[in-house]
Symmetry: C2
């Protein structure tokens, strides 16, 4: 049995709790929260984050479910001193810095910390690497969606007059088809993705002004074809409160004289946090196994053989899945 802890019980932490139930070789020892534990219900004992020190040696892997903006940069290095850890740190530009901080802590304390798992970074990164290694001459295309972008939805909700809002990122079908057809197109930002917004207005708000403010917002929307739909609060609640996402990584390469070779990896997810949680749990298994073999330090998905992700034994994998 691999003994697991969860730090942070938002959507991601709840997803980890559910995923662990599908993995009988893992056991949830406790959930750690910044809130008052008395007010939190979970499928395992709930503790204050201040009690984490008491669990050193009693938990094989701690799954960090905090946010990448402020939680993980602080918690990752601190917790890597006490536990083997897995996280889904996803601020791409800050990965080298975060890796260095976690690596120093984990190496010094003989722990394994697998950072930036999930699907992007994570499974998409694996496919970018694999496809480039196999097809060194070629072009890589990543499309995201159809799915909810948290950052863009937050941006909408900061606009005056918006009561509720959500934004879907949508790959432009024509662009995807051109890539799949082996055209190797050069695509601008606008040609790759559409942005579709659903907004519930505050009473008396000016719809036209809200739409223009959103569509002209630099960085977030002005470089895209953005549509803004105004809907009732009832429709919003019934249709726009789940968190679907997905996307695809394509590589269109050339081999030999003139052969076009296309590799595509795609996800279609009803629940982004539940899927990310499931990836975290599979990498938690790998972290526990690496630590048991005496390995240590920060790792990424690039360092982990897939065999360590499965509960099955190597000979069974070779026999049935190879």
């Amino acid at each position: 049995m691999i003994r697991v802890g969860i730090v942070g019980l938002g959507n991601l932490g709840k997803g980890v709790e559910m995923s662990l139930k599908q993995n009988p070789d893992m056991e949830l020892v406790g959930v750690f929260t910044r809130r008052d534990p008395a007010g939190v219900t979970a499928g395992a004992p709930v503790y204050s984050i201040s009690q984490l020190n008491d669990f050193a040696g009693k938990i094989d892997v701690m799954i960090l479910c905090g946010g990448s903006a402020t939680d993980l940069p602080e918690q990752g290095p601190v917790l890597a001193k006490l536990f083997n850890t897995v996280d889904s740190f996803d601020t791409h530009a800050k990965i080298p810095e975060y890796y260095a901080a976690v690596d120093a802590a984990a190496a010094q304390s003989n722990h394994v910390s697998i950072i930036s798992t999930g699907w992007d970074p994570g499974l998409f990164s694996l496919n970018r690497l694999l496809a480039e290694a196999v097809l060194p001459e070629g072009n890589e295309y990543t499309f995201w969606g159809r799915g909810v972008s948290q950052g863009h939805s937050d941006a909408i909700r900061r606009v005056a007059g918006v009561k509720r809002g959500v934004q879907y990122t949508i790959p432009v079908e024509e662009a995807v088809n051109r890539v799949r057809g082996g055209e190797n197109p050069e695509l601008t930002t606008r040609q790759k993705h559409l942005r579709e917004c659903f907004v519930v207005l505050e009473d008396g708000a000016d719809a036209e002004l809200v739409a223009q403010t959103i569509q002209n917002m630099p960085n977030y929307f002005s470089d895209y074809d953005t549509t803004v739909n105004f809907i009732s609060e009832e429709e919003f609640t019934s249709t726009h409160t789940t968190m679907p996402h997905g996307g695809m990584v394509l590589r269109s390469g050339r081999t030999g004289e003139s052969s076009t070779q296309i590799i595509e990896f795609g996800l279609k997810l009803d629940s982004n946090p539940e899927f990310t949680a499931s990836v975290l749990v599979a990498y938690a298994r790998a972290a526990a196994r690496l630590a048991a073999k005496g390995d240590f330090g920060a790792k990424t998905v690039f360092d982990i053989p897939f065999g360590l992700l499965s509960p099955k034994a190597p000979d069974e994998l070779r026999k049935n899945l190879l």
Copy 2:
């Protein structure tokens, strides 16, 4: 520079030769053939297979390009005693036996041998394992094609009255769409793939009899909807002498209360042997690196972290591809 040798110069060996040109960190030292070397031209010196012993210590990885039916079961274990090796052994049912034979030879002589690379087994296997580890509750579907099946084409050519013949395996689009739609259908053999044959008849052959003989052939065709098209030799030569292939591995899983999560990996290949060769070359890089670190024994794609496949340094991979 990684010094590479090729054993066997059929379509796959020629593909490896071309792939090596796209990988500037690798150098082709020699090609080894069972034929008279004087009659073989290649982009590197050509030697008789009987000279292999002279190259121990002069080649970092030997890429084995023989067939799985008779060449590899014999060559794999013998060459693993002399060299680090990579192969694309693809007789699924005999992998455990082949692994054991190669492992004994490689472990005893301190070499690394990565067996059964390519795309199925190989990249498809990796995706079956990954998707099952991330989504333990769910169903896996592998579709092959549209592409040339060598075994089925050979079977056609053994039918009396057939001068030339080729068989394409084609996924049934409706089945693929049902899986992508999250239906988790149970699919029979017939519901998953079609078989399409193109045949040039011998002079005076009975077309109807040839078609029926093909369509009723047990194991190969009788469990499938099989169409047989009769064409001229000119059309055959101009349209049906390349080796496209591809396919997809899908997993449709469930997480949480009722979220459907779909993972799809697909290939669309103008040239099956050139693509398989490109995979072999990426794994040859990994074999050389593992051996340089003192590792040994037989390995499969399940044992190899993706980071070892890329010529780029780990920090560059984390910065640019994660």
